[in-house]
């Protein structure tokens, strides 16, 4: 049976992990490879690297990092953050990333989704959607959550699926950072609207939260802080889920 996936997210700036990491026994918490290896050892199913490097000139640092990750890490990984062109995506995939994700550029130019899907295949293309409830509908935000776009996230999810997205990485801006649980109504609405896998993101604080997301049909759930701060190890989380009857990869 296909397992529900647990995904760890790492924010990268100029080739280093940023955001507080409080791991013990890690020589250098800023080294993405060391952290990724630790997650792999604990049983993570996938890793997402979000590049928040502001300047385009420093992109080469990311490509070098992707090459190193591809050589050292034996679980699939996704790279994204500020990607605008098919050319950049080609380079990232060529450097060894399994998948890429697009967010702002896809909203600005939806045809980019089909262009990219043609080049790298739908299975390797994730569309990240950041959404926030505006009283009437879940509204799509771009530019790292700074810009409201007036688009209904449910409609947008259907459109990206039609255009060739292979997966949706759905982040709720209402729950992100709260550690009070994933946005279940939003996640449920998107899962029911599309056939492609949906990754729930934003708000994970405890193992129950993952259970709730899988119960309503999310294929995967992503978290950062819960793992970074060592609140729960991936293994503890998976053991909990297995006890509650969720099919996870535990070995």
């Amino acid at each position: 049976m296909l397992a529900k996936r647990i995904i760890a997210a790492l924010d990268i700036k100029e080739g280093r992990v940023v955001k507080g990491i409080k791991f013990q026994n890690i020589r250098d918490a800023g080294d993405p490879i060391e952290l990724a290896k630790r997650y792999e050892e604990e049983g993570i199913d996938e890793i997402v690297f979000l590049d928040i490097t502001a300047s385009y000139e420093k992109r080469q640092i990311l490509l070098d990092l992707v090459k190193r990750i591809a050589e050292e890490i034996y679980v699939p990984f996704t790279v994204g953050g500020g990607i605008k062109s098919v050319e950049e995506i080609r380079e990232i995939i060529k450097s060894g990333a399994d998948k890429v994700f697009l967010n702002t550029a896809a909203v600005d130019n939806p045809t980019l989704i089909s262009e990219v899907a043609k080049v790298v295949g739908s299975a390797n293309l994730v569309i990240a959607i950041d959404a926030k409830w505006n009283g009437k509908f879940w509204e799509v935000y771009t530019h790292g959550g700074r810009k409201a776009r007036g688009i209904d996230a449910v409609e947008w999810a259907k459109e990206v699926e039609c255009l060739g997205a292979g997966e949706i990485l759905l982040t709720s801006m209402d729950t992100d950072g709260t550690q009070e649980g994933f946005d279940i109504p939003l996640t449920k609405a998107i899962v029911e609207a599309v056939d492609i896998p949906v990754i729930a993101s934003g708000g994970a604080g405890s193992p129950e939260h993952f259970y709730d997301a899988f119960e309503i049909g999310a294929s995967a759930a992503l978290a950062a802080s819960i793992f970074h701060y060592g609140k729960y190890t991936v293994r503890e989380l998976k053991e909990y889920l297995a006890r509650r009857g969720v099919n996870v990869r535990l070995e």
Partner: protein, 195 residues
Amino acid sequence: MIAIVDLGIGNLANVRKALGGVITSDPYEIERADKIVLPGVGNFGAVMKRLEPLKGTILDAINEGKPFLGICLGMQLLFEWSEESEGKGLEVFKGNVVKFKGVRVPHIGWNQVFPAKECPLFEGIKNGSYFYFVHSYYVNPQDKEVIAAITDYESKGNKVVFPSAVCKDNVFGVQFHPEKSSKNGLKLLENFRRL
């Protein structure tokens, strides 16, 4: 020496790291190798076209009895043809490659692999171990004897049971990505390396 056939798509750094060997598209190097790995990402027809100049070399090596491992599309290419596109595969095995129907496509993620017969690739790997998959098509061998392992994929209330590994004599194929399957994948690659 193991030749990892490079078709210019995707990065094979961790396949090489796990197996040793060289990443190459040079027919002479492939001819000299004592084992061949054919990884594959992309479209059946397009990749087969890129493979055309190496087809003879690869088939000779297989006929000489050299161990051969096809990964993902590299496994599908062992068959006669695919629903994905026109053109012939390597035709080492009889049968074709078909698209998933009635389930969410692509099939992405970690799924369980159940051996269907003795196969040295799975030595020391537990029955029902998880491997990482990402694909929309799967092989449909005419001779069911070549099926080395099966996997079931259930979604939207439908279930498809498909061959996730094949093996016959010196020829092996796996639908999943051992190079992305953490410890089990490394074990499988190690088993191939030691053949």
